[in-house]
Symmetry: C2
Subunit: 339 residues, 2 copies
Amino acid sequence: MQEMIRVAVDAMGGDYAPAEMVKGVIDAVTLRQDIKVYLVGRKDAVEKELKKRSYSGSQIEVIHAEEVIETAEPPVMAIRKKKQSSIVMGMNMVKEKKADAFVSAGSSGAILVGGQVIVGRIKGVERPPLAPLIPTEKGVSLLIDCGANVDARASHLVQFAKMGSIYMENVLGVKNPKVAIVNIGAEEEKGNALVKETFPLLKNCPDVNFVGSIEAREIPHGQADVIVCEAFVGNVILKLYEGLSGTLVGVIKQGMMQSLKSKIGALLVKPSLKKTLKTFDATEYGGAPLLGLNGLVVKTHGSAKAKEVTNSIIQCVTFKEQEINEKIRKNIGTSPMEE
Amino acid sequence: MQEMIRVAVDAMGGDYAPAEMVKGVIDAVTLRQDIKVYLVGRKDAVEKELKKRSYSGSQIEVIHAEEVIETAEPPVMAIRKKKQSSIVMGMNMVKEKKADAFVSAGSSGAILVGGQVIVGRIKGVERPPLAPLIPTEKGVSLLIDCGANVDARASHLVQFAKMGSIYMENVLGVKNPKVAIVNIGAEEEKGNALVKETFPLLKNCPDVNFVGSIEAREIPHGQADVIVCEAFVGNVILKLYEGLSGTLVGVIKQGMMQSLKSKIGALLVKPSLKKTLKTFDATEYGGAPLLGLNGLVVKTHGSAKAKEVTNSIIQCVTFKEQEINEKIRKNIGTSPMEE
């Protein structure tokens, strides 16, 4: 019998929970027979959604979680106090090896804290980075770290580069992924203290195909597969990416609605445009993994709909099949920096 | 007789120098009779461009500068060695009060170094920030600092907030400008060490209308007039803004060219779209001032064309008329932090 990949999904997190979560889960188990999903959340609410559609009953199991962690709650306190929340219970399943992965669209802070505190780090990993894929002209790049661990050290960034390379090579299938560090100029002597300290370490790191600095202007052109930065800068890049894309598309739509002539034009360009803009839609690529944990935790957008949930679950399968954590364990464990 | 505003313009800096610089200068003096421009650069090249058009001869004077600082040159060395360069000569004119302002599309590094070393800081100003205007849904915001001075301290950021407020209020005419600090969450307890230290200082600063944190996602929505950050983060925001806008517009154009139907549509939407996207074009708003100097230095984009040069020169007039430097001197001088 084929081994099942077991994914716990937070049914209660995100703007469209539980409806879109449940829909995404059903789509995922319909696509692949080797997935078993544990839907963690309020049983009545989840079952109400499940009843709306047909699916393979043996592939979905509801795990009742009485509590929900809200986005505004202070994360550390929420993780400590709400033992019966979907996030804490889902993460405990990963910790206890009852699930291979946990997917949530809930509170970023709680997911980042819970990942470290409940699931725990792989031995040798100093910090687990949050690594979303961002769309570029050429496909996608992994932006690592966008998490909550600000004020990083150079050794953290080197580990991010290694873990990011393993992920891009094995989950996305990018051979010998190009790694760049976010900088304010292309030259080696540019940058702040952290970048200046990290640059030579990456340059001399045998496990990483380091191509040097990348200016923020070049990121959308897709010239690097793994984009290394500390979390504050990563968060700014990720959020500006999302905000500016949304604003520009809005401005363009508005522009097209200004006259009768342009409205007719808009109808004609719409199908082609929709296809093109889809490549710039982050939700197509699933959620962001929190790397370096004893198990997999995936954070999707708070605004995730069914498609992103489905893609995130499929992503967990590849992660497990490709034995990413074993590779990280081996790579970080044998790192000269760790000895 | 009306007092003339004297602006030295680097005729040799930028991708389209000297042609577009000269064109921009001629447009500026044609628009306003109270401007006198010193075109600093290679006399033969500049005069060749000047001969192509007619203009008020008394308003433009060519100052011969034998040397040119190239973009790739190490800035400190270039400023020290190339005494006959257009940048060094133009800045010396500001220092010696022979010009009120200097506008250049040349090497950012050399302009930032030259501003500090040649023109010099206003007494009490710890660091002169580079403060470009970025387009938003509502108009523009001042992004301060995008310069070369990374690893800033909290006291620097407070000064940026003050100088930025004075600039937005007096040059852009924004009453009681809203000041926000770039952060990775809206709550006061979020952020890196620098932001956490700066937040209460801004909150308690009587000269600043501080509205709290701004996430990068919100920047394009124009919810703050002055956006305070340290230079590394500012540089990332500015360059990603430019890069992503360009990429998205390119992707959209490409999308519109995919079929005959969409091509016809593109022709129909083009006029309306062009007008809308213009509001998102940074070159409409002139260059970025380097604030807090004993005189004004304005850095335009390297890719600046005539229009941006003209707008930057007009910007210098408002700066002088509104006595921005006197206001900065007074405000920073009386700051409790400086005593």
